[in-house]
Symmetry: C2
Subunit: 232 residues, 2 copies
C-alpha cells in the first residue's frame, strides 16, 4: 500500500459492504488519503462494523471513525426496527417501489456527519458508494439527490465560506451495475471475502442468502462470471 | 393550551434557548401539533436539555424526542471541545468572522435528524429558530443555506417521492432582531424564565453573563425595553 503522506484527505462512508469497500479502494487509487467513516445506528447487522474495520485497514484508510447514533428511536425500517427483512423476492418485486429496508433520511444523516468530519479534518472530498441502478428504490441514492446535497454542503460550513474552496461529493459507483462494481474492485485488489452485504445475517455472521442484498450480490458475481469469495 | 387533535404535526428543533422556545410557540400558534426534537451532543451546557424539557411541556409539544449523538469525536468547537468560550467580546469583535463556538455542520446534522423524524411521524413541516441577524457569523443560519437544505430534503425521502407532498422548512425568526423575537414570544405567552441561552453556564446552572449568547440576550431584552426574567 502506497504511503499516504502528502495526499489530500477524503472522507469515505464505509458500511463494510461490497459497494463502500470498492469506493474506498477507488478513493485510494485516485490519490487521496482516505478516512473511513462508519455508523453504529442500531442496525440489525452489527457484524457490518467488524467487516468495515477489516476493510478500512486492508484498503489503506489512514483512520476509521465510528460514530454512534440511534436511528432506532425513529423506527420505520426493517434494518433498524421490528419489521421482518423480506426474503426470496423476485426481481419484479424488488423493482417495485421503495423497500421496507429503507431507513428514513439515512444517507442525509450519514453525509451530514461526513461533512462535519471533512470540516474538522480539513478535507474537501467525500466519497459515498450509492448506486442508482441496483437500488433505484431508495430516493437518497439518486443523482438529483446527490447534487442537491452537494449544493447544500457548499453553503453549510465555515470551510466552504471562509476558504472559498468547493467540497466535492464523489459517487463513482452511481451508474455502475453490480458486476461492474465487482470488476472495478477486483482490479484494485479488493478482497470481497472481507465484506458483508446481507441485511439479516444468520447467527455467527453468515449471510442469509435470501434477502435483497444477498440476491443482488449473487447476481452481480454471476454477471461478472465470478465466484463470490464469501462470507458475504 | 388548545387541544392538538386533528392538527398537522410539525417537528420543532428545540435547544432550550430563547429562539427555539419562540419557534415552538409560533409553530403551535400556527395550528401545528409540535413534536420537539433536542440533541445530547456533548455540549458543555447539558442544562440546556433540562430547559428544553420544561419548554416543550409548557408550550404544548405533543412529544419531546432527545437524540444522542457524539459530535465531540469530531472536535473543532468551543461548545463541544476543549476550547475556551470567548467572554466579554465587543460588538465589533462579535461581528468579525465565524466564532469558535461554531460547531461543524451542526445545523445540517440536526436538520437531517429532523427530516428522519418528520418522515417516520408523517410530518411535512420542520421549524428551526435560526437567525441571520444576530448570528450572521454562522454559515448554516443563512437563508441561502436553508433554501438549499429544503431543496435537498424534498429529494431525500420516501415521503417526498411517494406522497408527492412538499416538506416545508420554516424559519420564522430568520430576519428578526433579538428584540423582535422576544416581543413575539411574549405575545404568545412564552415564559423566558424557563429558557437558557448561555454557552458556558456557571456551576449550578446560572448564566455566565459574559459569553456572546448572554450578551446578545441582554441586548435583546434592553432593546425591547424589558427585563430578562432569567435564570437565562
Amino acid at each position: 500500500m502506497a504511503t499516504l503522506v502528502g495526499r489530500p484527505k477524503a472522507i469515505v462512508l464505509l458500511s463494510g459492504g461490497l459497494d463502500s469497500a470498492t469506493c474506498l479502494a477507488l478513493a485510494h487509487s485516485q490519490g487521496f488519503a482516505p478516512i473511513a467513516l462508519s455508523f453504529r445506528y442500531g442496525q440489525r447487522h452489527q457484524i457490518e462494523l467488524e467487516a468495515a474495520a477489516r476493510v478500512a485497514q486492508a484498503l489503506g484508510a489512514s483512520r476509521h471513525v465510528v460514530v454512534d447514533i440511534d436511528l432506532r428511536a425513529f423506527g420505520g425500517s426493517a434494518l433498524t426496527a421490528d419489521i421482518a427483512v423480506p426474503k426470496d423476492r423476485s426481481d419484479l418485486a424488488m423493482a417495485e417501489g421503495i423497500p421496507v429496508t429503507y431507513v428514513p433520511a439515512r444517507n442525509t444523516i450519514f453525509l451530514s456527519f461526513a461533512l462535519a468530519l471533512a470540516e474538522t479534518e480539513g478535507a474537501f472530498d467525500i466519497f459515498i458508494g450509492v448506486n442508482a441502478i441496483d437500488y433505484s428504490g431508495y430516493p437518497d441514492c439518486r443523482p438529483a439527490y446527490i447534487e442537491a446535497f452537494a449544493h447544500m454542503a457548499n453553503l453549510a460550513t465555515k470551510a466552504a465560506v471562509t476558504d472559498q474552496r468547493a467540497l466535492t461529493l464523489h459517487t463513482p459507483l452511481i451508474h455502475c451495475s453490480k458486476a461492474e462494481i465487482i470488476r472495478t474492485g477486483l482490479a484494485l485488489g479488493v478482497d470481497y471475502g472481507m465484506t458483508i452485504s446481507c441485511y439479516d445475517p444468520l447467527p455467527g455472521g453468515k449471510a442469509c442468502g435470501r434477502c435483497d442484498a444477498c440476491h443482488l450480490r449473487r447476481k452481480g458475481f454471476e454477471a461478472a462470471g465470478l465466484v463470490d469469495p464469501g462470507p458475504q
